[in-house]
Structure formats: structure tokens, C-alpha cells
Symmetry: C2
Subunit: 327 residues, 2 copies
DNA sequence: TTGTAAGCGTTATCAC
DNA sequence: GTGATAACGCTTACAA
């Protein structure tokens, strides 16, 4: 069915080896042979078999990306940049959305072991999976704490937390709530919380962190954020741990008849290009998504080639000043 | 380095074949052998080599997804569902973001030919690429017109155009502008335009379609939409061809001191879960993204297995009634 | 119930 | 310059 190198060789009247040499520009070849073989490839519409090549070379040219879900703009943009960077360096990407599926993450890691991919970039929440003990493998984590031997690329979450909280305090409010994921997940994002609590207490204000799991459905999140409004009826500002949730909070506030920023200030986190363009009024902390992707790819390729790397890369964040934080 | 089946066999004191049989539950095996082999696999932490398997089986268990960019929520959600559906059926996905890169699309198609993937799901804008002549290959298009032999899955764009336009007319406005991609791209989305123009003329109103390329950057889009406001200073409503752009239009309107919906009505298109939750006030046409993904996967798998399929699958749309279309 | 041997398509070594 | 041949790791007739 599909033509193989042998068919090309036969048609061109040469041996398999010669055809292979032409295919890979190996050794010296006569003009004539070259042309004959190229012609044969053309007419047969020959494409080298990927599996056979991989089997021989012992590498696949594939990188696995495991993230909660590309339907979240932050991960969508991140994956987009990762794919771009990797494509530039001749890698394709396999993606796995691991949200609410611990098994999937394990499965993908097994694939790596099976040699189906040459490396992995992880941004998942599921922690402490046994296979992570294989820390000698080419794996890089983005914004997630992994095994201590796995390099991690993140933005400056602590600084981000400081910037956000400070911004709200500067606006003149004192009853500021922060929302974040469960502290049981030891993600770098928890440092936003630490920073928030530090700034609050430094100013003699009482920190209130409201826990909400990232992995909830939209409907569940809405319900949970409505509880937030019930629990803190007199809150003046919220520092939400991501922009999508900040959007939900704003829409709930409107539903409840509160005006932003008149009645409630809001600061988000992530600062995707999408949000900055669609909801520019939302004050948020901008993570350097493109830069994070670049660094992650650099580090991964170093790991693959056996070069030593740092274990932690912290990239700077920025404050996007919208109107949702102005009194 | 990495253990192979032979190492397992050796450690278990059996032959390669037996080990393979255990691995694949083939034939009858004694309890003892089974246990021995399993133990050996365990201690060696054995994982079968993917390339070798693929080479033998002549299939990869990989499907290629080519879309403009997963950083757009519509494609992000679509890819998310596609990955989910395919994972259920033991396929992993390779993704390619082809935005502004015709060559990439060609490259991925070549991969298919190279047997690196078992099938392709396309949602790209780049048309008329030579390789599409290989229409006997397992390829499915989502919302894109391809070669006439490639099945296409889409939502009812014409109906969507009708619903959106009718909604605005019902709100009592007459100067309604529509924005859409260049008509040179023969996408199904152009049917939204056809529908819009039909409804407008049916009501004796003058249709005005404003062309804007999807592939522009955010900055370029902003500039272009600002032109729209200059060209039609007295417009009362806009029917935008996707929600992200609708968001941009709304933010521009605010910048220009116009209130929505008091001064300007807006209807979007796509109705992603993200938008319905973050910007519920935006009236929009909801595409059945999850259903489209399911159908696309079904059709692709049929094509792969050689089963005959329809050439066109049109799924129903819904109107999401927000406040941006209420006068 | 288990083992031998051939083959999947490519590449590289080493003679010619 | 070109051509056999073995190897990559796995699977499966076919034998034993």
C-alpha cells in the first residue's frame, strides 16, 4: 500500500542503501543517481515511515504536554507558545488534559517511559504520583511543585501577591479578601497567598483567604463564589487567584447589584492576552507566559541532551492597571 | 538502558515469545509463568517500546489536530473535547497551531502520510493546499470547507445568522452591522453573513458586512474595529462573527464612551462555556462544541476503519440571550 | 503450554 | 560511489 524505501530503490534502479543515502544526504552521490531517486520518490509519493525511524534512532521527536485543560485561556496560551517553540526545534507535541483525571497523568508518564515521547512538560495539579520518582527522566514542570529533582519554571508568585494586595490597599480599602486553591496542593500559586497575608498583616489588616478548588465546574464555582459574597457581605475588594474566576466574580457581583469598582474592587491573576484585550478594565497580575514557555523548552531540551540545569527558574510579573481596582 | 522484552524474559527464565504473550494476554499460560513474568516486569519497571509496536501494527494510536490556535477559547474548548473523546477510545493527540503558518499545515499532513498519525482533524483556514488531493486519507474537517471528499462537521451557521439578526431586529433597531472574515475564505462561517444579509433585505434594511481577518493580532484587530466605529458612526447594533471579537468591540465601545446596550447592541458568536460564564451579558449564538467534537471523532474513526460516512454533518445552534441585545 | 524464526521499514557498518 | 547485511524492539505464525 504505502511505498517503502525499497520500492523507491527498485523504481530508481538502485539499492535500498543508496536510496537511504539520498534521503539523508549521506556520502557522495552522482548527480544522476540523485535525480533518479528523487524522481522515484516523487512519482511514488514516498514518505519515510516514522515508526521505523523512531525505532532505529531511539527518539520520537515528540514532547508530551500535560495540563489541566487547554480550554482555560492561561493554559491555552501557554500550550500555544510551547507548541510554537517546540515546533521551531523540530518537535511536535502530544497534549493531555489531565483535569480531574489523575490516571491520565500516570498514563502519559508511562508513555514517556515507553519511549513514545522524548520529554514531558507538566503543569498538572495532581501531586505525589509514584512515577515521579523517575526523576532522571527529561521532565520540566511549569508552575507546579514536583519531585525535588524536576526543574520548575514559574513566575514570581510572591511578588505578584505583593503587587496585587498593595494595589488594593493603595486604593484605600481595608476589607480585602483573597481566593486561592486548597493549600493542601503545594503549588507555587500558594505563594500569592503568603504574600497577600504578609502585606495585610504588615498594614495591620486581617487577611481572609477563601479556598476554592480550581477543578470545580463553572456551575460549582458560581455557587462557591456566591457563598463568598454571603460570608463577607461587607468586603470592599477581592484579589482572585486567576482571571477567569475574577470574571465570574465580577459577573456575580453585577447579578447581586453591586457595581465594580464603586462597590467592590477586583484584582485578578494571569493577565492573558485574551483578558487584557477583552476585559482590559480588569486589574491583574501579568504572568510572562511566552517567556515561561521559552524557558521551559530550553530547560527541557537541555535535560534531554544531558546538560545540567538549574532546578528553579523564576520569571518576573507585571501589574496590569485596569479600572477595577480604582476607588 | 531501558529494559526490553528480552530482559524481562531472561529474568523470568522464559522466552521472548512467552513474555510477549503475557504482555498481550495471548494464548493459555500457566499461573506460574504469568506470575514470574509479571514480577520480572515489575522489578525491571518494563515498558514496551512504542515505536517497535507501531512499526509492527502499522498504526500509531495518534490523531493529529490542526487548528488556528488553542489560545482562542473556541478552539481551546473544541480541542479539549476532542482530546477527551479520543482518549476514551485509546487515541492520543498531536496538536498543531497553524495560525499564520501554511507550511505547518502541510507539514502535519506529511506526517500523516509518514504514518506518524492515524488520522487528522482539521480546523484550519488555509485553503487549497495541494496535499488535500489525497482525499482517501482519514481526515475530517470542522467548520471548514475542504476537498469535496473530506467529511465536514459544522454547526448550523445559516440558522445562527438568522437567529442573531432576527434578535437584533426584534430589539427594534435597524442600523445593524455584521462583521465576518474575508469572503475569499470559503468557510461555513460565511453562511452567517448570507443569513444576515437575507434577513436584513427581507425586512427592507440595508446589510453592511464589515470584513476583518481572523488572523490579525489583537492590536491590529483593535485598530480595524475602531475603523468600524468611524465608518458607521450611527450604527445601532453589531453582529460580530465570534465572541472574542465581540469582547473587543464592547471594550472599544466603552473606550469611546458608548454604553452597551443603551447606545449599541452587540451579538456575538460561538458561545463558549468560558464566555457564557465570564461575560453572561453577551447575547451570542451557541455552537454545540462538545457535540461537534463527538461527531468529528465518530466520523474520523469510521473513516479510519473504512466505514462509509456522510460528507456533511450539521449540528443545531442555540441563542444565548444576554442583555447586550436588549434595547 | 512454550520456543524458534521471520518480518515490520529504516539506518549504519563495512566491504566491494 | 554503491550494495549486502545486521540491528532497532516487538509480534505472531508455526513448531515442538
Amino acid at each position: 500500500m504505502k511505498p517503502k524505501l525499497e520500492d523507491v530503490a527498485k523504481l530508481a534502479g538502485v539499492s535500498k542503501t543508496t536510496a537511504s543515502h539520498v534521503l539523508n544526504n549521506r556520502g557522495y552521490l552522482s548527480e544522476k543517481t540523485l535525480e533518479k531517486v528523487h524522481d522515484a520518490m516523487e512519482t511514488l509519493n514516498y514518505q519515510p515511515n516514522a515508526a521505523a525511524r523512531q525505532l532505529f534512532k531511539q527518539k520520537t521527536g515528540l514532547i508530551g504536554l500535560i495540563f489541566p485543560t487547554v480550554s482555560n485561556p492561561f493554559f491555552g496560551e501557554l500550550v500555544n507558545y510551547l507548541e510554537y517553540e517546540l515546533y521551531q526545534r523540530d518537535f511536535k507535541v502530544i497534549i493531555g488534559n489531565s483535569l480531574q483525571d489523575t490516571h491520565k497523568e500516570t498514563d502519559y508518564l508511562n508513555q514517556l517511559l515507553a519511549g513514545q515521547v522524548d520529554g514531558l512538560i507538566l503543569g498538572t495539579h495532581n501531586q505525589g504520583i509514584a512515577e515521579y520518582k523517575y526523576s532522571h527522566l527529561p521532565v520540566v514542570a511549569i508552575d507546579r511543585v514536583m519531585n525535588s529533582d524536576i526543574p520548575i519554571v514559574e513566575s514570581d508568585n510572591y511578588k505578584g501577591g505583593i503587587l496585587a494586595t498593595q494595589r488594593l490597599i493603595n486604593a484605600g480599602v481595608t476589607r480585602i479578601i483573597h481566593t486561592n486553591g486548597p493549600s493542601s496542593l503545594e503549588t507555587p500559586a500558594q505563594r500569592r497567598r503568603t504574600a497577600y497575608e504578609k502585606v495585610m498583616t504588615d498594614y495591620g489588616l486581617e487577611p481572609h483567604t477563601f479556598t476554592i478548588d480550581f477543578r470545580l465546574s463553572f456551575a460549582e464555582k458560581k455557587q462557591r463564589y456566591n457563598e463568598l459574597f454571603e460570608i463577607y457581605p461587607d468586603m470592599e475588594a477581592i484579589f482572585v487567584s486567576n482571571d477567569v474566576d475574577a470574571g465570574i466574580v465580577m459577573s456575580i457581583a453585577k447579578e447581586r447589584g453591586q457595581n465594580i469598582p464603586a462597590d467592590l474592587l477586583v484584582v485578578g491573576y494571569d493577565g492573558t492576552e485574551l483578558m487584557r484585550n477583552m476585559v482590559p478594565e480588569l486589574t491583574t497580575i501579568v504572568q510572562p507566559i511566552e517567556e515561561m514557555a521559552k524557558v521551559a523548552v530550553d530547560v527541557l531540551l537541555k535535560r534531554i541532551s544531558g546538560t545540567k540545569t538549574e532546578l528553579e527558574y523564576i520569571l518576573p510579573v507585571d501589574l496590569w492597571e485596569g479600572e477595577t481596582s480604582n476607588r
